[in-house]
């Protein structure tokens, strides 16, 4: 590895060093505030290292990682999202008894895993990044050990995660056995003509890999863990699972499948289209039936990943820019929504039932306004980032004539009107007189309040002035 390689890897090196550094500081003395501050500071340093990494001359660092503009954009997005999660977690954990320092260690290592996934160019780094992310998440999901639901969620995620990782590994082995290479570019270049016997083995390999990828993204046949894990995990961890973990995996999906022109394999396209349609239908219809806010957001996130797959199926310059824009809008709205859930939660458990939100607009109008903005963005109402993102995806899909998924997307998306607005309506209804009024101080402490304000502004800004952000995406991704 050369000096240029080390410079290119600097954001990842900062993250790894921060993990070890924070651990050593904890070993000397435990202090929740200091650990959180160190974590936030190291994430900022890693973000500041991005321009340095962009100036590096070496982009391919050993056969495993490639730090190109595409990777740097998503690493930046991941680091920013983790910053928001860490700030929300600080307020959330302050309300809980117990030791909180390991939480930040695991958060940093999970982020490193996500960044490795994004920059991976080789099956080895793919699998190692995935495992670092997953192992950290197992412990993070079960972090609040005194809650039964937390442990249950962690166990479910662990068992299904291990099974899907085995499927992924088997798929990789089949592809390696067939092509003799684990490098994405060489896999894309060496593909046999569609229809031959070799292509069948490759298709099986890709299918098994889709199982592993689909699990992480909670796409429909592999989505069964999502509602339970979303409900059981602490709210900031749920935010992390549904943004950073899914975003990194989606970035990898695009990087892996984009160069090989999946449209040459009609069966693969049909499978992905079917997964997208099923995710949108199951996500939207099941969300209608939920009585828990976190489960509702879980199904809504399943549907959103279906929309993203529609953008993935569409080809062309529009689709290339639509995926990152959609991910940014989805990240902002999801982080904000779970941030509000976390801010409403006390030491006994997360605010999950709809009743916990009744009359929120009177007790805490700012929190209610933020939650409304996030839900409207997830729904895709004009003047929010979600609308522009959905419009962008729809445009890209229509241009490449991906008709069935795009119809399902708009028709099933309309169902969102019912389930998202249900929460909004409850928030603006009068609270029952006998309900105790939660003191405002415990609702949203300063760090999480600041993060929520920024996320709300971001959601509105993306909806009102998307042009500036689209320009940023085009200079970074489509270069």
């Amino acid at each position: 590895m050369t000096t240029g390689g080390l410079i290119a890897l600097s954001p990842l090196i900062v993250l790894a060093a921060a993990t070890v550094g924070v651990m050593l500081v904890i070993a000397l003395d435990r202090d929740h505030k200091r650990t959180a501050a160190l974590t936030l500071a190291s994430l900022v340093v890693a973000l500041l290292a991005l321009p340095i990494a962009a100036s590096a001359t070496t982009r391919q660092v050993t056969p495993l990682l490639v730090v190109d503009d595409y990777a740097l954009f998503y690493i930046g997005l991941t680091l920013a999202a983790t910053f928001a999660v860490a700030a929300l977690s600080y307020s959330y954990l302050e309300n809980l008894a117990g030791q909180h320092d390991e939480y930040y260690l695991l958060l940093l290592s999970a982020t490193l895993g996500a960044c490795v996934l994004i920059a991976s160019n080789h099956f080895v780094s793919f699998f190692l990044g995935l495992e670092i992310l997953s192992v950290s998440l197992y412990a993070l999901i079960g972090y609040v050990r005194t809650r039964q639901a937390c442990i249950e969620a962690a166990l479910k995620y662990l068992i299904l995660g291990a099974a899907s990782a085995a499927a992924l590994l088997f798929g990789m082995a089949l592809i390696y056995a067939e092509l003799g290479t684990m490098d994405y570019a060489q896999i894309a270049a060496a593909r046999p003509p569609p229809g031959s016997a070799d292509a069948v083995l490759l298709l099986v390999g890709w299918g098994l890999m889709l199982v592993g990828i689909g699990f992480k993204l909670a796409l429909v046949p592999f989505h069964l863990w999502a509602p339970d894990v979303y409900q059981g995990a602490p709210a900031p961890v749920t935010a992390f699972v549904s943004t950073v973990s899914k975003g990194a995996m989606f970035a990898l999906l695009v990087r892996f499948f984009a160069p090989m022109n999946i449209h040459a394999y009609p069966s693969l396209v049909v499978v992905i289209a079917a997964i997208a349609v099923a995710s949108m239908l199951v996500g939207n219809f099941s969300a209608l039936l939920q009585t828990s806010v976190k489960r509702l957001l879980a199904f809504s996130s399943i549907a959103h990943l279906g929309y993203l797959l529609v953008a993935f199926l569409a080809s062309g310059a529009l689709a290339v820019a639509a995926v990152p824009f959609y991910l940014v809008a989805y990240f902002a709205a999801t982080l904000g929504a779970f941030g509000v859930v976390g801010a409403r939660s006390g030491p006994d458990g997360d605010a999950d039932g709809f009743e916990a939100y009744r009359g929120l607009s009177r007790r805490n109008p700012w929190l209610a306004a933020a939650f409304t903005a996030m839900l409207l963005s997830l729904l895709g109402i004009p003047l929010t980032g979600g609308f522009v993102a959905k419009f962008y995806v729809g445009l890209a899909a229509v241009q490449s004539a991906v008709w069935i998924p795009v119809f399902v997307m708009f028709l099933s998306g309309a169902l969102g009107l019912f389930y998202y607005m249900r929460i909004v309506v409850i928030m603006y209804m009068r609270a029952p007189a006998d309900q105790p009024i939660t003191p405002a101080a415990s609702l949203a402490s300063r760090p999480s309040g600041a993060v929520l304000a920024i996320l709300t502004l971001l959601v509105v800004w993306l909806g009102v002035f998307p042009a500036l952000f689209i320009e940023i995406i085009q200079t970074w991704i489509a270069r």
Partner: protein
Amino acid sequence: MSATFYLLAAVAVIATVLVITHTNAVHALLYLIVSLLAVALIFFTLGAPFVAALELIIYAGAIMVLFIFVMMLLNLGQAATQQERRWLDPRLWVGPAILTIVLLAELAVTLSNTNRLAGGSVVGPKQVGILMFGPYLLGVELASILLLAGLVGAYHLARRDTRRERGEKPA
């Protein structure tokens, strides 16, 4: 050549299924060791003796011994003697022993006939080392982070002060 592989694979699959179905933990562990031995032998016949040795030393050796130690430590007291006497019951070790004898026979056949190696070439420790500290250097570093994450997670989940976390006074 392929018959060797299929026999080994069958032993591995049967032993693994028995690990899952057995309710007696020690019984299951014995089968798990057999399963790991079979996988190690598959590596050996594929021409990777170094990986086979690592599989034996790390999995069948260190990790399994750790498992059995933990289980014995959990069973201290009056009942322990009874328990250990029951572990010497032939019913408990006959199954794993038969499977191990199959493995031993295969090992003898493979060693007596070098042409039986399935892989074309033998990959030794030197080649593995060159790859590990050459192109896959970052993989080694990432694996260390993976272990760190596992260690921190296990430490947190297994720590012994749930009482204080529930807001009660420590005993």
